[in-house]
Symmetry: C2
Subunit: 192 residues, 2 copies
DNA sequence: TATAATAACTAATGTTATTAGTTTTGTAAA
DNA sequence: TTTACAAAACTAATAACATTAGTTATTATA
């Protein structure tokens, strides 16, 4: 019947996110995290199960937040404008929280984690809603969702690893990529 | 004037690639690599500078090989057919050598490594050649290169982290993604 | 005020990367 | 054939890290 304040799991997660965004996900260790929290490493085990568990939590939180960012971005928009806004918001999130986004895309130790699957399913479900007005079959819509996710994740990932070196406006590249894909969708809707 | 055979840097690299492809890049450690080579860990330092150096070499080799795979795939093809073949080859490479491809896309310790920049530049240069027949301005072509790389890398990366869960044909998703983008390129070439 | 839940700690273990210094060995020159 | 040396592989040692076990300290509540 008596607790003791101090850290809690959410505070540890927040500190881990801050550290990952600031220094990169590879720099996130229990040692560096404990130091940032002015605590000894083993104390963290009162709040997390271990480093793999912490990274799993980062992945999940990142997925939730990137979806939230897209949801926010499409308010009052529909069809191409909504998809464009969602794509820009996705990449914007990856830029603002690079370490957290890295965690989303990091090779998972556990592909089968149900919390991660749920978070991923919410992203897919959100995109399917944006596609509803296009009147696609369920199968067609799922292919498009895969395409859209590939687009935005690929762009965000390459940008995040400094893959775009030329002095060419990156926002312009992203806008063109999304618009070209959307144009292709319109142009191809008659086709098989 | 006298050497002593045994391992050499290329053999170490090959073993590292095999291990990464088999077990995943995270499982690649100097300890596991040395064990696979029936050697003690410090012996590896006769052939590589250390673990970061080894991973850098993997990145570079992966970039070269993925480009080679695309070059091979476009023989005798041009325009949309060539870009489609290149995209399929890119993803095919990531599927066949998942650990090596992971290394290509892993967050680098050293963005500025000239060897990696050179390898990346060769990929860009190759794609620019494929785009030549489209008669785009240099700037337009560079935007398209970014788009194409985003497409294929995003797809390969999501697929590699088991991001595509639905029982939906993945090759079909990839083909549609590439075709939709190419269609958008054609449709949009009059526009700004 | 006393208690109990629990956060934080110390101590210890095992893994890993890395460096320094030593031994071994195969080849090329004598 | 013998010898010398270059380089590969080794042993030993250190430092960083994650993790577990067991102990101490603290604080909200009964």
């Amino acid at each position: 019947m008596a607790a003791r304040p101090g850290l809690d799991p959410e505070a540890v997660l927040q500190a881990a996110i801050a550290l990952a965004d600031r220094e990169g996900l590879e720099q996130l260790s229990l040692a560096s995290l404990a130091a940032a929290l002015h605590v000894k490493t083993p104390s963290l085990y009162n709040h997390i199960k271990g480093l793999p568990d912490l990274k799993r939590q980062l992945s999940r939180r990142g997925l939730i937040l990137v979806k939230d960012a897209m949801v926010e971005a499409v308010i009052g928009k529909s069809e191409d404008a909504a998809l464009l806004a969602a794509g820009l918001a996705y990449v914007g999130f990856a830029r603002k929280q690079p370490g957290l986004y890295e965690a989303v895309t990091a090779p998972l130790t556990d592909y089968e984690d149900p919390e991660l699957q749920e978070a991923g399913a919410q992203v897919v479900s959100f995109l399917l809603k944006l596609l509803a007005p296009y009147g696609l079959s369920e199968e067609d819509a799922l292919h498009v969702v895969r395409g859209f996710r590939s687009l935005v994740h690929g762009f965000a990932s390459l940008e995040g690893q400094n893959g775009f070196r030329m002095g060419l406006d990156r926002d312009e590249s992203l806008r063109r990529l999304l618009q070209t894909y959307l144009l292709g969708l319109r142009a191809g809707s008659g086709r098989k």
